[in-house]
């Protein structure tokens, strides 16, 4: 992704410089205008809170992260399983796909209370909420991928008398891999959002408190620097999840897919 021959150093330095200037401007505005910290704390105050509340916030982060990763794993496994069912039978796809869409477009905030009532185990309830938000991109993308096999290659497989299983293993699954990985990258971010929303709705229902609930709690107590610190950790988590999935995609596709190719002279 060489953007017009920009040196590597600049690609890293430019966004960092923008970020640093923004933080500096923020600090200056807060000090000059004397905005009280319960309205808008400056970056330094947030940093301080991050330092002092760090350990307890990290504990909460772990709780949220567990829900997120479990939901993402479930989205990947069940998403692929559902997509495989769809690819086996067109009838099944036609009859079930609309319901997957309905599940996707229904706001999770609206159904989370029901799920929390129905599923007694708190961790499981959060997991189900996060999964509902996260599974759709995997299903939709993988379904398209499984149906995108090259026609001529399919004919070739037919010519050599390939079984359904062989077509799936040697042709359809490899074809679908880049589609699946693109879906998974979207699902990573959605799983985190789903986990946070579910925690907001569940409140203190669980024995352990996740990062989202810490944000609510900090808001009630007007501990706004801590709220920002928790928010910062949440964003950071989202970025790390994205980078990990992006890296995974690059490693798996490095030899052949256009999206993962290194810059090179042709």
């Amino acid at each position: 992704m060489n953007v017009g021959g920009v040196p590597r150093l600049w690609r890293l330095a430019a966004p960092l410089a923008v970020g640093a200037s923004f933080l500096a401007l923020w600090e200056v505005v807060v000090r000059v205008e004397a905005i009280p910290p319960y309205i808008l704390p400056g970056p330094l105050a947030i940093g301080e809170s991050l330092w002092t509340d760090g350990p307890s916030l990290l504990g909460s982060l772990l709780v949220t992260l567990r829900v997120t990763l479990a939901a993402l794993a479930a989205a990947a496994v069940l998403g692929v399983a559902i997509a495989l069912l769809f690819s086996l039978s067109r009838i099944l796809e036609l009859s079930l796909f609309p319901y997957a869409v309905i599940l996707q477009v229904t706001p999770i905030v609206a159904i989370a209370p029901l799920i929390i009532i129905w599923v007694r185990e708190p961790f499981l309830a959060l997991l189900v909420c996060a999964w509902i938000v996260a599974f759709f991109p995997v299903v939709a993308n993988t379904t398209v991928g499984l149906n995108s096999a090259d026609r001529n290659l399919l004919a070739l497989f037919q010519l050599y008398g390939a079984s359904q299983g062989q077509v799936l293993r040697y042709l359809k699954l490899p074809t679908a891999l880049p589609y699946f990985l693109a879906g998974l990258r979207i699902s990573g971010g959605l799983a985190l959002i789903g986990a946070v929303v579910a925690e907001f709705v569940a409140g203190t229902g669980g024995a352990e408190t996740g990062l989202a609930f810490r944000i609510l709690e900090a808001g009630y107590r007007l501990a706004i620097p801590r709220l920002f610190a928790a928010l910062f950790l949440l964003s950071l988590t989202g970025i790390v999840i994205y980078l990990v999935l992006d890296g995974l995609s690059r490693v798996l596709l490095r030899h052949w897919h256009e999206s993962a190719l290194e810059d090179e002279e042709e």
Partner: protein
């Protein structure tokens, strides 16, 4: 092949009353204007499509009963049709994998076939690292690796430049001369078909019908010098005329 016709669901008649016997060891070229059903005919021969009327019968040396066992027919498409996620080695190994025979003998056979098409040293390369001509060589190696009795080629060199095309013509000729596999070759090019074939069948457009069936009586083995000989030019002229007549019949 007896009275074969093919009508698509859209009602379009692609082929009509095709009678064609292909002898063992022949190099047969099918030539005709675009959209004359050459590709459809080839797919019927391969068993990838069923004729709407008439019958296709394939008897190959290694046949057991009526069924053609897989691996007895090789097919090369217009595009190289390789799996981009697999190395050259794995792409050529694919036929063996699909017919469930992957042993050390087969792997050795794959390597030999890659050498035979002049790609030694590229076994571990991925298709995107190869040029168009090299990809087509991989495709040919894959079609030949099971030592088929019948090799079908569907305008394999149409998308290649003249130099690569001439080189691949030579290579295909050498491969055929050393193995005498029966070949059915679909092409647009009169010169290519005359240079390669032992027999040329001219097909008319929509519906496809056999307009002419011409033997090519030129010396064997074919050498590059042949391309400038008067005998070659005479046959090219005959085929060109037959093709022109086939297209003229259409427009009347």
């Amino acid at each position: 092949m007896r009275g074969v016709g093919k009508r698509f669901r859209s009602g379009l008649a692609a082929l009509e009353a095709i009678d064609l016997d292909i002898g063992e060891g022949e190099f047969l070229s099918l030539i005709g204007p675009s959209g004359c059903g050459k590709t459809t005919l080839l797919r019927i021969i391969a068993g990838l499509a069923e004729p709407s009327e008439g019958e296709r019968r394939l008897s190959l040396t290694a046949d057991s009963g009526g069924e053609v066992s897989s691996g007895r027919v090789g097919f090369v498409f217009q595009d190289p049709t390789l799996m981009p996620w697999s190395t050259v080695l794995d792409n050529v190994l694919l036929p063996f994998r699909l017919i469930g025979r992957v042993g050390s003998a087969e792997r050795e056979r794959v390597r030999a076939e890659i050498r035979a098409v002049g790609l030694a040293g590229f076994e571990e390369a991925y298709p995107r690292q190869l040029s168009g001509g090299m990809r087509m060589r991989v495709s040919i190696a894959r079609a030949l690796v099971t030592d088929p009795d019948l090799l079908l080629l569907d305008e394999p060199f149409a998308a290649l430049d003249e130099i690569t095309r001439t080189a691949l013509n030579e290579d295909l000729l050498r491969l055929w001369e050393s193995r005498r596999t029966t070949v059915v070759f679909v092409t647009h090019s009169v010169f290519e078909s005359v240079y390669l074939s032992t027999r040329i069948v001219v097909i008319t457009a929509r519906p496809g019908r056999i307009a002419a069936d011409l033997p090519v009586e030129l010396s064997q083995p074919r050498e590059r010098a042949l391309r400038t000989s008067p005998g070659y030019a005479a046959i090219c002229a005959t085929v060109s005329n037959a093709l022109a007549r086939a297209m003229a019949d259409r427009s009347q």
